[in-house]
Assembly symmetry: C2
Homo-oligomer: 204 residues x 2
DNA sequence: ACCTGAACACCGTTCAAGT
DNA sequence: ACCTGAACACCGTTCAAGT
């Protein structure tokens, strides 16, 4: 039976909560800011987590845990993978300032591995050649990661106003969506194209 | 007429050269290491570039300058865009340790803008709807960026040896390519799928 | 067991002082 | 003009000392 400790000032959970608030609000994570928000000393944090890297790692697990793995036996394999990709990106979109901190280290978490296994199973079931499954998962992952990074881009990523030397881009920017709709449309177009490519790879 | 200064210890070019060597060799850029490699004092660097961020920005321009923009009038628009995407990724692959430093800030450089304009012109010429051009360029960019990040991944990104709970992924890893060939195959598969998607978008 | 203040090594940057 | 050493504010982390 676990003895309930009383009056513990910090805990792994409260540290992660505060760290996420720091990142969301200030876009960065320093031990001093974190400790101030917790009403504790910076050195106190080290009694619960072995350092700043461990905090970021815990946040990766926390964000990854919110992403549902695709169902292995879903007959609509494209729908299953699409749902997973959208959940992945949505989880990132909830904390865009966290993205640069997560990609500084390798991405794979335990929850992510299970999702990859499910996707591998879906692709195998769809008829994709065994040797092509890892490359397709890699392509999906690269696109999801790049799309997540795109969410951190400014609303107007290309400044082309009054740039007569960039006529085609200027016209495209004027005609196309901007802000969040630009990012969303790009994600859906690219995802559909990748799924169609996998489907063709399975049929061929 | 420009007066040739004699015995200048540092220059923007020598600083960028040394900074790139620092990043390639140690994976990071500190002013102390940079100065030591230059045989100068850290503060001396500030007489040529206004700080660490400016050095990274100069390196972004330097890397971007090595990427040929696609030809506007190429009748093979898929080939033109493919060549640009491969050049983009190859330039990044030459300095993988630089990638995390570049994506910490927004990507767009002056050379990049011209490339985007060329791609926009190629897509318009291919018949892609005006409103879809910016989303498609965004999708290409996200994929290129994610694929570049993938180059910094370890040779074996998913550790699935002796993991009976991940059967599909384990089989896929065994059957598929590893290391650089994994990344290359993924890039080519994804790129082909995105181009096919754009082509279908133009026809529809 | 948990928390703290002081200390440490390191970081980017500034600036008065030299030549 | 270019370069330097000293100084500054900040960073993550350690540790002996408290409770």
């Amino acid at each position: 039976m676990v003895v309930k400790r009383r009056n513990r000032l910090l805990s792994i959970e409260s540290i992660c909560d505060a760290a996420l608030v720091c990142i969301d609000e200030s876009g960065r994570l320093t031990m001093a800011e974190l400790a101030a928000r917790l009403g504790a000393s910076p050195s106190s944090v080290y009694h619960h987590l072995p350092g700043r890297g461990a905090i970021i790692e815990a946040l990766r697990e926390r964000v990854g845990a919110t992403i549902d793995s695709p169902a292995v036996d879903d007959p609509d394999w494209m729908g299953a993978i699409s749902g997973w990709m959208r959940a992945y990106r949505q989880a990132m979109a909830a904390h865009p300032n966290l993205i640069p901190l997560l990609i500084a280290q390798p991405m794979t978490s335990e929850a992510g591995l299970r999702s990859y296994d499910r996707v591998a199973g879906l692709l195998a079931g769809a008829g994709v050649a065994d040797a092509d499954i890892v490359p397709w998962i890699t392509a999906l992952d690269s696109f999801a990661l790049g799309s997540a990074l795109d969410l951190t881009a400014p609303d107007q990523p290309w400044v082309v106003a009054d740039r007569a030397d960039l006529p085609a881009l200027g016209a495209a920017v004027t005609a196309g969506p901007a802000g969040r709709r630009r990012a969303d449309t790009a994600f859906e177009l690219g995802l559909a194209a990748l799924l169609a490519g996998m489907s063709g790879s399975a049929a061929g």
